[in-house]
Symmetry: C2
Subunit: 359 residues, 2 copies
Amino acid sequence: MAVVGAGPIGLAIAWRCAARGLRVTVHDPAPGSGASAVAAGMLSPVAEAYFGERELTGLLVASAARWPEFAAELGEVTGAALGYRTEGTLMVGLTADDLAEARRLWAYQQELGLPVTPLRPTELRDREPALAPRVRGGALAPTDHQVDPRLLVPALRTAAERAGAVLVPGAVRRLADVDAGVTVVAAGCGAAALTGLPVRPVKGQVLRLRAPGGAAPDFRHVIRGYADGESVYLVPRHGGEVVVGATVEERRDTDVSAGAVLRLLRAAVELVPELAEYDLVETAAGLRPGTPDNAPILGPLPGRPDVLAATGHHRHGIVLTPVTADLIADLVTTGVPDPLLDPFRPERFGRTTEEDPWN
Amino acid sequence: MAVVGAGPIGLAIAWRCAARGLRVTVHDPAPGSGASAVAAGMLSPVAEAYFGERELTGLLVASAARWPEFAAELGEVTGAALGYRTEGTLMVGLTADDLAEARRLWAYQQELGLPVTPLRPTELRDREPALAPRVRGGALAPTDHQVDPRLLVPALRTAAERAGAVLVPGAVRRLADVDAGVTVVAAGCGAAALTGLPVRPVKGQVLRLRAPGGAAPDFRHVIRGYADGESVYLVPRHGGEVVVGATVEERRDTDVSAGAVLRLLRAAVELVPELAEYDLVETAAGLRPGTPDNAPILGPLPGRPDVLAATGHHRHGIVLTPVTADLIADLVTTGVPDPLLDPFRPERFGRTTEEDPWN
């Protein structure tokens, strides 16, 4: 079999399939250079449970539940550190308006039965004294964790190669050029050109700060907040890095704009004032593979049982990596799709190009 | 003779001296890599005329007056573009408080007889429609111009070399290692270690934006403003670049901090809102050679007529380049100091180290 795309999704599929004894080649001119290169790595099914996305939320929860074992296994196979951390996520609102908006979402998340614990201001500050005194309130999502995608991708590559997968450098321009019984298209935004599927780039701008003097950041939780109407997340790493993200823009360039950096920094510093003293070490933009319903596209293309899509993961590629890899590997080896895949079948968008695009 | 330091000051001195027939070597491990590499290049004796710095202001005015001819001559000798622009500088205040602070300074500048013309809000907007409607008021300093230091330095190097000066790569650790009858120390912050003079690094953080699609910025004047108490300048270049600066910090690191970027971007976007749409293409920090009285140090070291200082230019290195080069070249060739140099002699700080530091 062949996998097109050596981001986390493609590499994890290759690992899982190779571990089951399949001969796997992975095609990518620049492994790990797509959306994962800038991704923050939040494993946040709860904080990311938005109105009108119940089926996606179900898949996020299922995948997040697989992460502890997935991380343990990957760490064991490769000996690599992944930056996997389980302190949980604090969701906060800066102003009364921000808090009102946040509370609507927490109520919805609780309605779905997800673990969200509203905290009193004193409890919030006890947990995270670095938060600005102005922050009006917050809630804890204890099961929303994080991993470092810049550690994850090389670890997945190592795991896939040790299991026998072969990385082939070079871009795949047409699926007809791939010589394999089954081809998995895990090419992120590149899936559109290969398959005609409605995958579009959604630009995200992200900053990386670093605590002065190489210290660890003064906060341990992932912090997701609303600050004067601006949504921002802050992801602390043991090495001192703090990822600040992210814009969501219907654009296909990867330029960094002054306005986006301003909005992200302003919101970050309003929530955690000490971040003003951190170094700004990186500004970057990446392109997420978005779909019309914000959910991934998983399974055989209509009329092409030999071509499986594993793309369209949008803002959820890292958290969805384990479940995507397991379900696609199951499908490849058994031919039977797991019922979990059902809402994410490519057919839901119909045949999207006039001609047969994959020949 | 030898010049230590191949920034704009050292290169211009070398050019002027070589053009008068002197044999000149210029020593620098990395020409143009100091403060000039991040400098904005404002030629602003008027906007930079601050309370309590009359003698410095006099020198700034004298040097700015030499700039048109200096630029013309340098352009002629080298054929290089310098980004020299004469549209003038707009000084503006965002809020009523900002404007009140600005007006105090404009009154002082007018008292000194400097050309400052207060503008009515409609006049301000006619001149520069890109200014935010919120901007309360402004004044024009028509003789405050600009040059691009990243074009200036290579041009000066070419001019110096064509006149016969020889660049010697490599750092000078001790003046005793320099084999020359006269040595000019134009080493910026490095002058302290070589001479014992009280030159200290003063950190400045600077951003570079770029207009989208390679267009020219939508404003032509240099804009210097106060925005909610923050002082910022915006320098537009024909190629699309806008330099946004600068912090003034008593630090010797060159890290870029989140807080500084936030303050600069916020003030910039408040004054010229369209800058939010510009790309943020560079964040950088440099170290200016500061002195106890903010004025440069020009002339022979006490008891060492063979060692001339030309350093301590702090925030004024680019504008002071022509006058520094001319006066030092005069001094080297005639042995007689111009009276203009008098307030800037090294002696004003006494002998600053316990021992003789230059042996």
